[in-house]
Structures are given as structure tokens and as C-alpha cells.
Amino acid sequence: MSFLFENSYYIAAVGLILIGLYIMAAKKNLIKVIIGLSFFETGINVLLIAAGYIRGGSAPIFSHPDMQAGKMVDPTPQALVLTAIVIGVAVLALALSLAVRLYEHHGTLNLRKIRELKW
């Protein structure tokens, strides 16, 4: 149980990453694949934030003058995750617009059927 207590954030992160990858590798529908991509990215973000957490720390904002720097969580991963989230949404938007275009051309989003480019 204590293992679960300790690592539930990590479990959530790894779980999201793996589910995301599974969807991307095994699912046929392009929208599903993009959903998988978004899970994958969310999982990585959770992983990064969890890696930057320091037990007993507070948010890295000096909202009161008496706050101590020693008692704060690491701000760097948060900055990274901010960037990563925005990159994620950019990729997602582009992917969805491509999906719309793909649907116009092929009339389907089934990736098993969209195989004109091969060999």
C-alpha cells in the first residue's frame, strides 16, 4: 500500500503514457490515434511535474513576503510543462486539421484503409 501511496502520481503518468502509446499503435481510427497522442502528452507532463515535486514544498510563488525558497517545489519542470502543453496543443490542432483534410480525400479515417503510400 505504501508503494501505491508513494508512487501513485508516477503510476498515473506511466499509465497514461502507455495507454496513449497503445491507442496510437493499435487503434485504427485517426481521431482515436490523436486522442492517444493527447494522452501520451498529458502523461509526459504529469511525469515531468511529478519528477519536480519536492515533499512538503509549496507552489513557487512568493505571494507572501515571509515565504521561504527552501520550501518550494522545483519551478523548472513547471516551466517546461507549460511549454510542452502548448506544443502539444499545436500538434493536436495540426493533426486534427489534417484529419479533416484526409476525410475529405478518402471519405474515411480508418488508417488501415488509407494505405496508398506504401512500399
Binding site: L4, F5, S8, Y9, I11, A12, G15, L16, I19, G20, Y22, I23, K27, K28, N29, I31, K32, I34, I35, G36, S38, F39, T42, N45, V46, I49, A50, G52, Y53, G57, S58, A59, P60, I61, M72, V73, P77, Q78, V81, L82, I85, V86, G88, V89, L92, A93, L96, S97, A99, V100, Y103, T108, L109, N110, K113
Partner: protein, 85 residues
């Protein structure tokens, strides 16, 4: 005591989150899957908050839960709603 409660809550959230993800994977109706995705994003935002990352939590909530879902829905509206052909 408080710590234990919080831990249990985190475990419950984890289970919920992964369940949501699995649901999104299983659902044949893409709109439902997208809603599940939004739910997962929301929980992730909650996680960020619990991990003392309010900036990220805000970003994830507004982007992951709101904006992404909107884009998904718009895109699904223009394509096919159901996963099977």
C-alpha cells in the same frame, strides 16, 4: 491522518484517470471518447494542482479540458462521428 486521506484520494484519482483513459480507448462513439479525454485532462489539471503547480494546472485546465475538446468536437463534426465504418 490527513496525509492518508489525501493519499487515498490520489489513488482514487489515479484509478479514475486511468479508467477514463481506458474508456476513451474503448468507446466507439468518438464524441464520448473526447469527453472522456477532457475528463482525463481535468483530472491531470487536478494532479498538477495537488503537486503545487498552479500555473500548469491553469494551463492544462484551459487548454486540455476546454480548448482541445472544442477542437476535437469541431473536427469530429466535420468527419465521422463513429469509429467503425
Amino acid at each position: 491522518m490527513l496525509a492518508t486521506v489525501q493519499n487515498c484520494m490520489v489513488i482514487a484519482l489515479t484509478v479514475l484517470m486511468l479508467a477514463g483513459a481506458v474508456c476513451a480507448c474503448i468507446f466507439k462513439d468518438l464524441i464520448s471518447a473526447v469527453i472522456a479525454t477532457a475528463f482525463v485532462s481535468l483530472l491531470a489539471a487536478l494532479f498538477f494542482f495537488l503537486l503545487h503547480a498552479p500555473d500548469v494546472a491553469m494551463a492544462e485546465a484551459s487548454i486540455g479540458a476546454a480548448l482541445t475538446t472544442a477542437i476535437f468536437v469541431i473536427a469530429i463534426k466535420k468527419t465521422a462521428r463513429s469509429e467503425e465504418e
